[in-house]
């Protein structure tokens, strides 16, 4: 990466050289400045995670003695095997694999649930003239105003009364109670040309058939975009899973972070390596999704306005 950047600079400088030398020189230095700022930014974002990963390949004693590690060590296999398949020492029985599975259930369950429910609601709002439509609209969109954190205690009590503590349903459903998805699909459905519906009606398609056979396939890109945002959002949930799951069988990776901290306070030589390995494990899937589906991710983020 470094090499390409510097050779780019040379190319630029040479290309500019054919014009006036003063201008090309000034341009060269400005370009150097731009790239330096960007590299500092990259370093700022990258360094902590890189350090966390490198540290996770060392054993606890080394880290405790010498501090965080700037070079790879020889405990990679050991540490990650212990974290993935063993009860991690931070938790009694939840292995990294179990927590990864739970995180997947939460991330995918939340994203799919939210997309299905909000597409249906948006369809009903945009394509039908029903009494109380305005009321329904406001009932749904007021939820955009208040995040879960401000009503956390009563939400917990309701889920508890419904007997949903330590269950995937209790984990996912309350998180879906916000209108971001509905808002997003409403905007999109409004931009779908009316002619499409006219044509479908002439062909004899009913409202259900129109939704399933035409509107849903048309929204594919939108669905992908919003899925990525919602998956990352669901996977990264912390406060709600912390309250709802006391049974380790339901711990997610992100929830497991709390356990790490609790064990640390009181440990002689904390398992720094394993803790960092868990952190890496917890960030890997969402990062992969965001980087691989970059185009959709940016679309989903900037168009949904969160």
């Amino acid at each position: 990466m470094m090499e390409t950047t510097s050779s780019n600079l040379e190319v630029e400088a040479r290309a500019g050289g054919r014009r006036t030398p003063l201008l090309s020189q000034r341009r060269f230095w400005r370009s150097v400045g731009d790239h330096t700022v960007l590299w500092l930014g990259v370093l700022f974002m990258l360094a902590p995670v890189l350090l966390a990963f490198l540290t996770s390949t060392h054993d606890a004693v080394t880290i405790h003695r010498d501090g965080l590690q700037f070079l790879p060590g020889d405990h990679f296999g050991e540490t990650y095997e212990a974290v993935l398949f063993g009860a991690t020492g931070f938790t009694g029985k939840a292995t990294g694999l179990v927590m990864t599975f739970n995180s997947m259930v939460l991330g995918i369950g939340f994203a799919v649930g939210k997309i299905v429910i909000s597409m249906m609601a948006a369809y009903a709002i945009v394509y039908f003239r029903i009494p109380f439509a305005t009321l329904a609209f406001w009932v749904i969109f007021t939820t955009l105003l208040l995040p879960l954190e401000v009503r956390i205690l009563p939400s917990y009590e309701i889920v508890q009364k419904m007997g949903l503590l330590n269950s995937y349903t209790g984990l996912i459903l309350p998180l879906i109670a916000s209108a971001t998805g509905t808002f997003f699909f409403r905007q999109f459905f409004k931009s779908v040309p009316d002619e499409l519906l006219e044509a479908a009606r002439i062909d004899g398609a009913g409202p259900f058939k129109f939704f399933v056979d035409i509107l849903v396939p048309m929204s594919k890109t939108m669905i992908a975009a919003i899925f990525i945002i919602m998956f990352v959002f669901g996977w990264n949930q912390y406060l709600w899973p912390t309250l709802i799951t006391t049974d380790e069988g339901y711990y997610t990776l992100v929830r497991g972070i709390k356990q790490i901290i609790q064990v640390w306070v009181g440990a002689n030589i904390p398992e720094y390596g394993q803790a960092m390995a868990l952190a890496i494990l917890a960030m890997l899937p969402p990062i992969l999704v965001v980087v691989v589906f970059q185009r959709w991710f940016i679309k989903g983020l900037t168009e949904s306005d969160k």
Binding site: E12, G67, A121, I140, P147, I158, E198, L239, P286
Partner: protein
């Protein structure tokens, strides 16, 4: 509204039902319960509660501790919002200018978006750790002994820096897409009219970015108020003690650890009011921003 609309049947109701049901059970009921509980004093040993009017609010607002937390929240939000916006704007402007490698920079600068706040907090805690943290080592070189979890200011600084780190990518993505949507004609005209790139930025680019900026301002304040909960929880390692904390953290602390239902609810309602104010402000700004575009 659509020109062509289906006649009403059972379908729209069936389609609306799940969303409305979830919203009522998991949004309106809890929100209403928070408002109700804020006017009552719960008996800690179970068995009923007494109506106390606005006493809970009075207690909260006259509590020195609450005022201290509110002050910290103000400075915390201000610093996190300002620095994460400023750093992101600088990086976005540079990424928009460079001719080569813009795409690589974009990926390298945005992927931290996917990291959960508590995970960022955990890594941050290690970076600032008294025994193993490199940042503490650097501070020691300058003769400063950094003590996270012990020294109030050090802990606050760690919370702020970690929160900024986590928020830069979102702002970066929005600023960059805002910059890229500025029409080429405008850029070229500006280039001819104004030689100095510094002045060009402040007189042309910056005003064009204002709508994105207003939107991000609200997003960032909301982030600093609510989404940083996990960072704060992890940095203080579950031991609130005399550590700095935000208003949301205090709601959680008093409600779940302190079992002060009325007080916690009153704090919730105060926060709700704050968010409502922010939203009204946001809508006002959106109305006004029409003039820019």
């Amino acid at each position: 509204m659509k020109r062509v609309i289906f006649g009403s049947s059972w379908l729209p109701y069936a389609f609306l039902a799940p969303q409305i049901l979830i919203v009522i059970i998991f949004f309106y009921l809890p929100a209403a319960e928070a408002v109700r509980a804020s006017f009552y004093l719960e008996n800690p040993f179970g068995g009923g509660s007494t109506f106390v009017g606005i006493d809970n609010y009075k207690d909260v607002l006259t509590d020195d501790n609450y005022v201290r937390v509110a002050k910290f929240t103000f400075w915390f939000s201000l610093l996190v919002t300002f620095f994460s916006l400023a750093i992101a704007l600088l990086l976005a402007v540079k990424a928009d200018t460079v001719l080569r490698g813009a795409k690589s920079y974009r990926i390298l600068l945005m992927w931290v978006y996917a990291i959960a706040p508590p995970v960022a907090g955990l890594i941050g805690v290690l970076m600032f750790d008294q025994h193993v943290g490199p940042i503490t080592d650097v501070a020691a070189l300058f003769g400063y002994k950094m003590q996270i979890g012990v020294n109030y200011n050090d802990t606050a600084a760690a919370m702020i820096i970690i929160s900024i780190w986590k928020q830069v990518p979102v702002n970066f993505i929005f600023f960059l897409s805002g910059l890229q949507s500025i029409p080429k004609a405008v850029r070229e005209a500006a280039q001819i009219d104004c030689r100095s790139s510094w002045r060009r930025f402040w007189t042309v680019t910056f005003p064009m970015l204002a709508p994105t900026g207003f939107f991000l301002l609200i997003i960032n304040i909301t982030y600093a108020l609510f989404d940083t909960f996990a960072v704060i929880d992890v940095v203080m390692k579950n031991e609130p003690g005399s550590n700095p904390m935000t208003l949301v953290y205090k709601v959680y602390l008093d409600g779940f650890r302190g079992s002060d239902l009325g007080g916690s609810s009153a704090q919730s309602v105060i926060l709700m009011a704050l968010v409502l104010l922010l939203t009204i402000f946001q809508f006002r700004m959106i109305e006004r921003r029409v003039h820019y575009t």
